[in-house]
């Protein structure tokens, strides 16, 4: 289980990194924390001729509040997100999700840019990007472009980047008017990829839902925002009936696949139960948080 031979460069700026990728003629691969790429290399499932190590590029690891967005540098480690006051205060769902990302040792190495680019359908950060409606900023030979999270993830383990493009930062809008939220995840073991996971956040006006955000993962090829489910929450009141109806819609909106661990029926059943729980928690939080 050793990788095939490759060349290695560790450029000091983004431009040189892109040049190196261009030089490799489509056969180069960037490496950030290496937590997902290294196993692929060792299994020889990825055989790039060139590894471009991003970790020596300064200025790409930061968490900043800019007006109503939190901007995160692509090389920011999972552990930095987990322990950030800015995240805790402004992206509470992300703060709740981060301890579920793998194990501490992996969170110390893994980066947000790497997690998004790796596009695992059961990974938390891609789902959070979709949930918050994040904008993924990338730079390539043709310059910079901005990609909405929902367009970034194409299918399991594949994103919409060109081979020479590099993610350098991600903008997460703060859901300022949402006062209630919930994050529910079930994994086989602590730190495993999710069997089912849902995030819900709500804005309440006069004890009825005036706006809702819902995203799920682990139940489709990519993380997904469930607009239909959001829609049925709008105008709804709290309580068991709404929660049940919401769960039904969520269950009907996903198309999980069978895998070695559980069947699609299991995942569908689970996500429904998690949806119910998440709605109730989010609603209770919103009621409790009312000024």
């Amino acid at each position: 289980m050793k990788p095939a031979a490759f060349d290695y460069v560790a450029p000091r700026d983004l431009k040189s990194a892109i040049d190196a990728l261009v030089g490799a003629g489509g056969d180069g691969k960037v490496m950030a924390g290496g937590q997902s790429l290294t196993p692929l290399l060792n299994f020889r499932m990825a055989r790039p001729s060139l590894i471009v190590d991003l970790l020596r590029i300064p200025g790409l690891s930061f968490i900043e509040l800019r007006e109503n967005t939190v901007v995160i540098g692509a090389l920011t480690r999972h552990a930095d997100l987990e322990f950030s006051d800015v995240i805790a205060a402004h992206l509470p769902v992300m703060a709740a999700a981060m301890p579920h990302v793998a194990h501490l040792a992996i969170r110390n190495r893994g980066t947000i840019g790497g997690s998004l680019s790796h596009a695992d359908p059961a990974a938390e950060l891609p789902m959070l990007a979709v949930f918050y409606g994040a904008t993924i900023k990338v730079e390539g030979p043709a310059g910079r472009r901005e990609i909405p999270a929902e367009e970034f993830f194409v299918s399991a383990l594949s994103n919409c980047l060109e081979p020479e493009e590099i993610v350098f930062e991600i903008e997460f809008p703060v859901l300022t008017s949402h006062t209630g939220w919930a994050f529910e995840e079930v994994a086989r073991r602590f730190g495993d990829f999710a069997l089912g996971c849902i995030a819900v956040s709500l804005e309440l006006t006069d004890n009825t839902v005036s706006d809702a955000r819902v995203a799920v993962m682990g139940v489709d090829d990519t993380p997904r925002r469930l607009r239909e489910a959001e829609e049925i929450l709008r105008g709804a009141e709290g309580g068991a009936r709404t929660a049940l109806r919401f769960a039904q819609i969520v269950r009907a909106s996903v198309s999980p696949a069978d895998d070695i661990h559980v069947s699609s029926d299991y995942r569908r059943n689970l996500i429904g139960a998690l949806a119910e729980r998440a709605f109730n928690t989010a609603f209770a939080r919103a009621v409790g948080a009312k000024p």
Binding site: M1, K2, P3, A4, A5, N42, F43, V186, R188, R189, F190, G191, D192, F193, L195, I260, H261, V262, S263, D265, Y266, N269, L270, A273
Partner: protein
């Protein structure tokens, strides 16, 4: 000959170390990264080996083209099975069992491949990277054959054959019988039966298998460093196979990072490394990567058991019948044979119970999967699962509490020694005492109350019991594996005081996590009278003693410990004699303790160093005939061995949404005889239970219909981590056994009890839904299916 009574006296006089929770001597080195595992070896200019392994479960090898690989950068040699056929003799896992077919063990697949992961070609190169590059250049032309996956189909007349020469896929068939089971079952008040299954699982040690064959040109000899727990057996087998005498073939197990059974057999790669090292006159290294380890190390269980138990109206189990099919994989293993696991299932099925009539039949069936082999608990995790489920099913049918039904059926203290229906004899052990202790510690009544409260809230709360017995520390009268011709009934200790006064104790046992360097030294400290800190224990080295087999089958405390006691006793007598000269006292008045010999009741004493000097260096103090070498050597054989037993009690809650099983309480009450080190005993129980929880809830090797392994990584082969393991309370019933020191073996017990106890607890939790657990592991998916079925059944029954 053993003189066990003689060596027990000293304990009573001076048990200063045995029984103490002394911190493990090996831990500082292991925990600070100063251990030396096989892959830490750095032999001179070693070459690295990589294996091209079969991607097919069953195929004829038509042609292997290694030319391109031979020409690749850094490659020194490429060997196929044919290339080395004349360099060694295949190893035959022989057994006296009738109707047994011994499949020969070859270093590389020859003629056919029989499982995915079987080694076909070896590449030897300057480093592992280049070796793996060259693997891709090997071309193998195969003719694909139908794979034999399902052991129940494999016994059919027209099934494809894994071994044509065997003319059948049934490699062993046996039957144990006592009494008229048919009649007794027919006359039973109630009968319970089910089809049970335990999936194939992997022992999965954290250190993958690793070998370093170190060639010494000067003496034309090989030292094989191996991550093995049977270095002595490996030495003897390789010596035969390579025709290399033991003084030119040394096998050493250095620090070994766990085995759980996976390092307890001879492996083709061990043969290959030695053959190739000799051919190339170079040192060779190989360490399995996780994929290789998971797909080519011996696996476990894979058994289907149809079983039935009959009870009288008082809940006394009167008859038991079982038919077992063991899916043993493609080859019989050395030295244990493919009968090891499945045959033990039927020989231990009656367990600690006084069931009068019994029929247990077993077939070990070859399939296109890796061989099964020893796994902590061998056979008994499965036999206990089946017997304990049946016991609970009987209790339920009769309306008797599970605790009470066990009370009625266990062998009672006054009934030992007791021969159970399968022929095994239990010596006096605290079966009932363990049961009662576990129930008391758990607060059994209050657990029942908790359960009633939980049920009233619609929660699935269950209590599970499992009681079992095992044979440990087996002596020469009983073969560890059925019909196996090699002696596993003795172990040797050689303890000496050298000219510097230092104490070195050499053993052939091979600790791979058990802490034998500590416990053996504790015994020696007491029985020799040496200072604990001054004793160095050498183990796992075939050069240390003339013959040894290693550490397995819960034998090292009994056999190694017994040898240590006897050898200590011999050496202590010699020390006393010298001391009596030096101190001018009679030998009977000399007391040896803490590294000193002293005249009892006085302050006159001499150190071991002074004694050594008098014997070895000083020409004047002692008469020549009194300068006897300070060594005690003893080969101990407990003849029959001893019994160990335990009760596990577990409380669980099943979450009907996630279908996860949460363990709320876990109690083990065990009898391992006289405890040498309670901290180590607790650790062994904790680890064993964790392993058993893996087998009960998580672990499963999945082979798909094409015979491909689809759980080949730790993403898909799920083992519990520390977070998933509950607190485990361990209670000790210390009833002394009859062997030296009063010890019993205890390394495996945790794994034996846990699957059964958890299966019973889940069944109890779900009994309102009429669910019985008959398959393990009880994964979320299996529970989901059971719950779905139960829901539809309930719906179906309400029009």
């Amino acid at each position: 000959m053993s003189k066990d009574e003689a060596v027990q006296v000293s304990d009573l006089l001076r048990p200063r170390h045995v029984g103490m929770p002394i911190k493990r001597t090996e831990d500082p080195r292991l925990l600070t990264g100063n251990g030396e595992y096989t892959s830490d070896r750095r032999p001179d200019r070693a070459l690295h080996v990589a294996f091209r392994r079969s991607e097919h479960p069953h195929a004829k090898i038509l042609r292997i083209d290694t030319e391109a690989a031979k020409a690749a950068l850094g490659v020194v040699a490429v060997f196929t099975g044919a290339d080395i056929a004349d360099d060694y003799k295949p190893v035959i896992p022989f057994s006296r069992m009738p109707s047994y077919y011994a499949t020969p063990i070859m270093a590389l697949a020859t003629g056919k491949v029989r499982y995915v992961g079987e080694a076909v070609v070896a590449i030897i190169a300057d480093n592992r990277y280049l070796a793996e590059d060259a693997l891709e250049l090997i071309e193998i032309e195969y003719e694909l054959l139908d794979a034999v996956n399902d052991p129940e189909l494999a016994v059919a007349k027209d099934a494809p054959l894994v071994h044509e020469l065997a003319q059948t896929n049934v490699l062993v068939a046996r039957e144990f019988k006592k009494g008229d089971v048919k009649a007794d079952l027919a006359s039973a008040h109630i009968r319970v039966r089910d089809r049970f299954e335990m999936s194939r699982i992997a022992p999965l040690a954290i250190e993958p298998r690793s070998y370093s064959a170190e060639f010494e040109n000067r003496r034309d000899s090989i030292t094989l460093y191996t991550s093995s727990n049977i270095p002595g057996i490996v030495r003897d087998a390789l010596s035969e196979s390579l025709d290399l005498p033991g003084n030119r073939l040394r096998v050493v197990a250095p620090d070994v990072g766990g085995s759980f059974g996976s390092k307890g057999s001879l492996y083709p790669e061990e043969i290959l490394l030695c053959v190739a090292a000799r051919k190339l006159r170079r040192s060779l290294r190989w360490t399995a990567d996780r994929l290789e380890d998971i797909s080519s190390s011996s696996q476990a269980f894979a058994e289907i058991i149809e079983a039935e138990m009959g009870f009288d109206k008082d809940g006394i189990a009167i008859a038991l019948e079982a038919d077992v099919i063991g899916d043993v994989g493609a080859y019989s293993i050395y030295p244990w044979t493919c009968g090891l696991e499945p045959v033990q299932v039927v020989s231990f099925l009656p367990g600690p119970y006084k069931i009068q009539s019994y029929r247990g039949a077993v077939r070990a069936v070859a399939t296109n999967k890796p061989p099964t082999g020893p796994y902590r608990g061998v056979g008994r995790p499965v036999s206990t699962f089946v017997a304990e489920r049946l016991m609970d099913m009987g209790a339920k049918a009769l309306g008797i509490d599970p605790l009470e039904i066990r009370r009625r059926n266990l062998v009672r203290p006054e009934e030992f020694p007791y021969r159970i229906a399968s022929g095994i004899i239990w010596d006096k052990t605290g079966f009932v005492e363990c049961l009662e202790a576990a129930a008391e510690a758990a607060g059994y009544e209050s657990l029942l109350k908790q359960q009633r409260a939980a049920r009233a809230e619609g929660r699935y709360f269950g209590i599970g019991l499992a009681t079992y017995a095992e044979l440990t520390g087996i002596g020469s009268r009983i073969a560890v594996a059925p019909g196996m011709p090699i002696n596993t009934g003795s172990e040797t200790a050689k303890i000496r005081v050298d000219s510097t006064g230092a104490v070195t104790a050499a053993f052939g046992v091979a600790s791979h996590g058990q802490g034998l360097e500590t416990t053996l030294a504790q015994i020696i400290a007491d029985d020799l009278g040496a200072k604990f800190e001054d004793i160095r224990v050498i183990q796992g080295d075939s050069d240390a003693v003339p013959m040894s087999t290693g550490t397995y089958a819960s034998r090292s405390a009994v056999l190694g410990g017994g040898a240590a006691k006897h050898a200590s006793y011999i050496l202590r007598e010699k020390i006393k004699k010298v001391a009596s000269h030096l101190l001018e006292a009679s030998a009977e008045d000399i007391d040896v303790s803490g590294g000193f010999a002293s005249v009892a009741g006085t302050d006159r004493k001499v150190t071991f160093k002074q004694i050594a000097k008098a014997v070895y260096s000083d020409m004047r103090t002692l008469p020549v005939e009194a300068r006897e070498e300070l060594e005690g050597s003893f080969t101990y054989d407990p003849i029959n061995g001893t019994t160990a037993g335990a009760t596990h009690l577990v409380a669980v809650e099943v979450d009907p949404v996630t279908c996860f099983v949460k363990i709320l309480k876990y109690i083990v009450a065990e009898d391992c005889g006289r405890i040498i080190n309670p901290m180590i005993v607790d650790g062994q129980v904790h680890g064993g239970v964790a392993q058993g929880i893996g087998a009960a809830l998580y672990e499963e090797m999945v082979y798909n219909e094409e015979g491909q392994l689809v759980s080949a990584s730790l993403v898909d082969y799920v083992i519990p981590s520390a977070v998933e393991i509950p607190d485990i309370e361990v209670l000790h019933i210390e009833s002394e056994s009859a062997v030296a020191g009063g010890f019993r073996g205890m390394g495996e017990g945790g794994t034996i009890g846990a699957p059964a106890a958890i299966a019973n607890a889940i069944s109890d939790a779900l009994s309102p839904l009429g669910i019985d657990v008959s398959t393990l592991p009880m994964t979320p998916q299996r529970l989901f299916n059971l719950l779905e079925n139960a829901r539809t059944n309930v719906k179906g029954s309400q029009p």
